[in-house]
């Protein structure tokens, strides 16, 4: 039986990937509480990471539904505050560059719909197989593949002019 600490770490990292910066703290807390509360019911039929990914995915979807309803009533006039990132302080220049690239990546990801973003993050960025993603999102593999194709195309359009992820920048292959 996995420990609550392990589940929390897993959920925290997965939610960071799925939710980006947007209300990450709240979403991570909600998902972690749900996962730890439901941990005694985890039967081990799937991998723990798949199980926690599903909890995170459903939490993000639920939040997106609430957020859409909220936006119908209110208008945002400010971007709001980013959550406190703890150790994201400017330790050195390379770290700052990484943080800036990740910020642009998550900004582009937030332009996608929640379902497409979830599939792309899980498959392309987190390395899950199509079948695992299909199990998490509760869809057929062929639907997941279709969403993935659309998400890749949409993300490429979003990042086409980006100085690091853009078409021109990617012509010059960076040393690994």
């Amino acid at each position: 039986m996995p420990t609550p600490e392990a589940v929390f770490g897993l959920v925290y990292r997965q939610m960071r990937a799925l939710a980006g910066h947007r209300e990450f703290d709240d979403l991570a807390q909600i998902a972690a509480e749900q996962a730890i509360r439901a941990l005694p019911g985890f039967a081990g039929r799937s991998k723990l990471s798949t199980w926690t990914f599903r909890i995170c995915h459903l939490t993000v979807l639920k939040h997106d539904r609430w957020y859409r309803r909220w936006l119908r009533r209110f208008t945002l006039t400010d971007d709001g505050e980013l959550p406190d990132r703890g150790d994201d302080g400017p330790s050195h220049e390379g770290r700052l560059v990484d943080v800036e690239r990740a910020r642009r990546l998550h900004t582009a990801l937030e332009a996608l719909s929640a379902r497409r973003r979830a599939v792309l993050v899980m498959h392309d960025l987190e390395g899950l197989s199509i079948d695992e993603v299909a199990e998490i999102v509760g869809a057929r593999p062929i639907a997941v593949r279709s969403r993935l194709r659309d998400a890749r195309a949409a993300l490429a359009r979003e990042l086409a002019a980006d100085p690091y992820f853009g078409d021109e920048a990617c012509r010059r292959k960076e040393p690994p």
Partner: protein
């Protein structure tokens, strides 16, 4: 400069799936490309850009993964927030229950207070009905020697007052409260007002308990007790004598009530002529609406 689109998206997708940079971080590591895929990758600039972008995306994504220290700090932070939110949640859960309990208690207390007020007010109303001051009003008859009970805050309508008084008169003739008056059958098949077991003790005892003189009036049970006792005993002669005494009083209501009862007694004993004359007189000049109405009813029944 725009990028040309890939002429074979199927192979482009296969290449991206094969790459799986999230697992391998490098296309060159342990990926076996078919000759068709290798040839396509060499010739298609779009696919090369797509693969390079995918690699950079994965790299950027994993470069900012939270460290163990950040996860631990977040765990502590969330635990503190959970405690604060738990307290708020408990309060929010308790608030509707507290409101509901308050409403229920308020309703129960209100109902109990209403019942208590009714029970407390009922004897006072009964005493008021039997008090000469409350019934005689401006009619003929001596003013009682006792103080009148406090009048109700709202003055009842005149018609209701008459009705109450009439009920008191008839009930008083039977030694009971107005609510206990019932119609009973007598052997002569004539209907007369007969008493049924009193439910409430005669309130005449109340003034005595207060050290006041016994009251004689319309609703006073003592006034009508001889008539009631004679009727209960079946002694109609004694009842008629008692009614004769009451019919000679100055109090118009008591007098006419006694005359009405006497006429009904005469009817039950077959003395129709004097009864008809008395009822006709009462129907025309009875002291109250009820007495006049009952006299008319008796005449109608007689016809």
């Amino acid at each position: 400069m725009s990028l040309p689109t890939c002429p074979d998206p199927r192979i482009a997708e296969q290449l991206l799936d094969l790459a799986q940079f999230a697992r391998r971080r490098s296309l060159a590591r342990a990926v076996q490309l078919s000759s068709e895929q290798a040839w396509h990758l060499e010739s298609c600039a779009s696919c090369r850009v797509s693969l390079e972008r995918a690699r950079r995306l994965v790299s950027a994504h994993h470069s900012v993964q939270p460290s163990d220290a950040e996860v631990s700090a977040a765990r502590v932070r969330f635990a503190q927030r959970s405690l604060r939110q738990g307290a708020r949640t408990r309060w929010r859960r308790l608030l509707p229950r507290a409101i509901t309990a308050g409403l229920v208690l308020g309703l129960v207390a209100g109902a109990a207070a209403q019942i208590a007020v009714r029970r407390w007010a009922a004897p006072k109303d009964a005493a008021r009905l039997y008090t000469p001051a409350a019934h005689a009003g401006g009619a003929a008859g001596p003013r009682p020697a006792i103080a009148s009970p406090p009048e109700p805050a709202v003055e009842p309508r005149a018609q209701d007052k008459d009705k109450d008084k009439d009920e008191a008169e008839v009930a008083g003739a039977r030694g009971e409260t107005p609510h206990d008056v019932r119609i009973a059958h007598v052997p002569s098949s004539r209907r007369v007002w007969a008493p049924i077991r009193p439910r409430v003790a005669a309130p005449a005892a109340a003034p005595a308990a207060e050290g006041l003189e016994p009251r004689l009036g319309v609703g006073d049970a003592a006034t009508w007790e001889p008539v009631a006792a004679a009727l209960r005993a079946g002694d109609t002669s004694a009842a008629e004598s008692a009614l004769n005494r009451l019919a000679a009083l100055n109090d118009a209501r008591t007098r006419d009530a006694a005359r009405l009862a006497r006429a009904q007694l005469w009817l039950s004993r077959g003395r129709a002529t004097p009864a008809r004359d008395e009822l006709q007189d009462l129907a025309a000049t009875g002291a109250t609406l009820t007495i006049r109405a009952r006299a008319r009813d008796a005449l109608e029944t007689r016809r």
